[in-house]
Symmetry: C2
Subunit: 510 residues, 2 copies
């Protein structure tokens, strides 16, 4: 039994991030409620009549109740959180989502909306017995206007599938991230996913044109417009971008896709120290200007652990820091001229110690694969504590060094991320989860981030894991306004409970 369950989890976890990783997990994670000592709120408990109702709305095969069928939907992919849901619903239409929510709201049944389940803060799995509403079957592309770039699709579409589809029409998706092979566009929007191209194409608040979402009471809110400019009243779509399924379930999406770049180049460089890395960033911004589409960094430990665990090969030598620079442009000759000028200038200045520049798609893919594999690579050693913070650039790497001293030989601490957005991912990789290490890391990390005015969650969100720490980055008045919105839009609190919003005592203790 354990073996088949492990296989199920492993299948669920086959995102392209970790597709090369060999899973040997045979032990299930502890229940989140026990691990983090959470009390169940007073929601209704699922009865057989409820199951019958759901079967009447959906076809029987889209209502999962068998324990082994439900299990993978209860566990997040970093195996940190585990819920106890008894049922997974897989609606195919907005109307089905509406009927489910209307029923749950009337019967005070809590729900957990779920996309590709690639979230990193436990937001996409239940905590107790919340009903999982998984949008995997809402995966239709509705329309694409290849002149304006407006794509309309259902929330359960996988990001990579969308990207492949729009590429055939000379467009690209405005976002890209390691989990693209599994994550859903609805989940991307619900978590305001950032990713690898934000530097160039901006954030989702800028590129989402319209949203259809279902409120807790089943009301379908139709803001699914495809216009670039529409100033008729409140900009409601933003309520659903980044609210992690606590204000509504996103069912359809209209998003602006930029033009497919005619020329793409990539540079992978070795750098002596972080000070030089920052200088290189400033120089790249100036020299590459409008064609700079990514400026990513990784420290030596990130790369060495990744190439070792994922059996990859590092195309350049061993350096203290690595920088990945990508350009998207409309003229290959101009772009190469800019990139080569930058490269020779910074090789001469010494900011770049060594590196490789390529325009070959296969080589580009290989180098991106190393960068994208960092997120999953540490998990092969056992357990990874994952942090995702925004910091002022002058403080960007300090926290990694501070943590190495603090953690000692208990774990490996490494940092990588999106320099252009001030966003660093700090991973602490250990052989297994331990409460001692947890207590060493948290809330220390959040305190350090707050000291320099950073954000304790740059792009991963708050989810289940961070509500008690949100006050480090969110003002009391803002928290109260969040609470007012939740009260107004989901008065029974059935949508993704135990997530995002802290319980009142946590606010008061701030």
């Amino acid at each position: 039994m354990i073996k088949s369950i492990a296989t199920l989890i492993s299948n669920l976890n086959k995102t392209n991030i970790i597709s090369q990783a060999k899973y040997t997990t045979s032990v299930l994670p502890q229940f989140s409620s026990e691990k983090y000592a959470v009390k169940r709120k007073k929601f209704g408990v699922l009865k057989s009549a409820d199951v019958e109702y759901f079967k009447s709305v959906l076809s029987e095969d889209r209502v999962l109740t068998d324990e082994s069928d439900v299990l993978p939907f209860n566990i997040d992919w970093i195996k940190n959180c585990r819920g106890q849901s008894k049922i997974v619903l897989k609606p195919k239409t907005t109307d089905e989502v509406s009927q489910i929510l209307s029923y749950c709201n009337k019967n005070r049944l809590a729900v957990c909306p779920q996309g590709g389940n690639t979230g990193l803060v436990g937001g996409s799995v239940p905590v107790f017995d919340e009903i999982v509403i998984n949008l995997v079957h809402m995966n239709k592309i509705i329309s694409l206007d290849d002149i304006s770039g407006a794509l309309v699709c259902e929330a359960g579409c996988i990001l990579e599938n969308l990207d492949n589809y729009v590429r055939d029409h000379n467009l690209i998706m405005p976002l890209d991230l390691g989990a693209k092979g599994s994550c859903h566009i609805g989940g991307n929007i619900s978590t305001n996913a950032g990713g690898l191209r934000l530097l160039r194409y901006g954030n989702l608040h800028g590129s989402v044109l319209g949203i259809e979402a279902v409120k807790a009471d089943g009301t379908v809110v139709d803001c699914l417009r495809t216009l670039k400019k529409d100033n008729t009243g409140y900009h409601l779509k933003h309520l659903f971008i980044g609210s992690e399924g606590t204000l509504g379930v996103v069912t359809k999406v209209a998003i602006h896709c930029p033009a497919l770049p005619k020329a793409v180049s990539l540079g992978f460089f070795g750098v002596e120290n972080f000070e030089n890395l920052l200088k290189l960033y400033k120089s790249a911004k100036s020299s590459l200007g409008e064609i700079l589409s990514a400026f990513e960094m990784a420290d030596n430990k990130s790369i060495s652990l990744t190439v070792e665990n994922c059996k990859l090969s590092n195309p350049i030598g061993d350096y203290p820091f690595y920088v990945l620079i990508e350009t998207h442009g409309s003229d290959e000759t101009h772009d190469n001229e800019k990139l080569n000028r930058f490269l020779s200038q910074e090789m001469e200045s010494g900011l770049i110690l060594d590196g490789t520049v390529t325009s070959e798609p296969a080589k580009i893919k290989n180098i991106w694969h190393i960068r994208e594999s960092i997120a999953g690579a540490g998990m092969i050693n056992g357990y990874v504590f994952k942090y995702d913070v925004s910091l002022p650039l002058r403080n960007y790497y300090d926290l990694v060094l501070t943590l190495r001293t603090r953690v000692g030989d208990r774990a490996r601490v490494y940092g990588y991320g999106h320099v252009g957005d001030g966003n660093i991912h700090i991973n602490v990789s250990a052989s297994k989860y331990s409460k001692e290490l947890y207590a060493i890391l948290e809330p220390f990390i959040y305190e350090e981030v707050a000291k320099v005015g950073g954000s304790i969650s740059a792009e991963h969100g708050v989810g289940f894991r961070k509500p008690q720490f949100i006050h480090y980055s969110k003002d009391k008045t803002a928290l109260q306004l969040m609470r007012d919105l939740k009260q107004s839009m989901d008065p029974n609190g059935i949508l993704n409970p135990y997530k995002v919003l802290p319980d009142l005592p946590d606010i008061e203790k701030d």
Copy 2:
């Protein structure tokens, strides 16, 4: 008396759009409440004790009650709307705004937040006796991080002043519009202003980093972060972007400023017909790619009326359509190569009949000045009915032709706008306001826009003039959610009443 009042209005109206216009207005506009038959809602009436309180919070010189002092703040710059406020308050600090609102909320006194008063839908002037809160004295720049590009300032800063300031630090403001010499950044954000560079630098939902706003009850909501990525809870700042002062008064702003382009070029071209203009747009997107920063159009009537009324000179001959293309890039040689290649290709193809290309700042300024003067030029003939709509590109110019037939010789109908955003401004210029013409135009225009799925307000907002038409572009469920938010955040409805939200019967008749 009339003369001095006219001078006051004229002074207030001296935006750079119409600075060359000679005003001879000596008749005041009709009261909005009479012109549009609006009933006053049950708010408190200003008493002398209230005035005394405001004087105790602000210094006496920042409380205007003299009729002639107050008058300019009651009239919008297109002289369409006129309120009857008895008092203008000019706070200097967020705390003062908070005290004012807290007092007004307790005493059910309605308020009208006001920036540079350059709005085009009557949103920035009172309808009845709302207390005007003008933010002109909140004009301090707080900080600028010239590496990240984060500018923090008070809401009353004038857009052009900010642009000049950040240019000294090799940055530009992400938005630009004709009223830049008068409009406030707080007003830009409250109306989600679009403008001339949106094609390149995106909308304000993408570029605003943080906001401080004061709610109706005086609560200061502090979301004034400067981080590019911050996913800690609901993205509250978006509630204040584009809600036109009905959910809160924006007091401080953090905004991301892009790098000052090293090379700027501009082309001004004559085009045979709209079909060719659209082809030219597609070609420009492909040839100029990432350096295209504006693609503006104007029809023959727009340009001929503007050069005549504003005594400007058209640098090229007489053509059915004009196109203004601007590039922002980091390498002058590359940019000119792209632009010249595009120009010679499209001269040869015949899409461009004639034109001029320049990189000289003075010439660039002159050509932009023609484009920016169109908005105010028609007013010199008397009165302009102004429409600002988003339309699918294939329908972009049809409405101008339809209206010309419908209006006949009663007025001049012309169209100009931001092709890249699907946003056209349609002006109907007459010798004076007439109810007959009004009835010919509205709701006909909105019906036509709704037929093709456009927006009845692309960038100007809803304000006082369009709530009764909002249902042409906004779904019932979205309107209900707007109402719920208003109820939650401003239960007494004191913030900018009679604006944005339609009265209930208007929803029901939809």
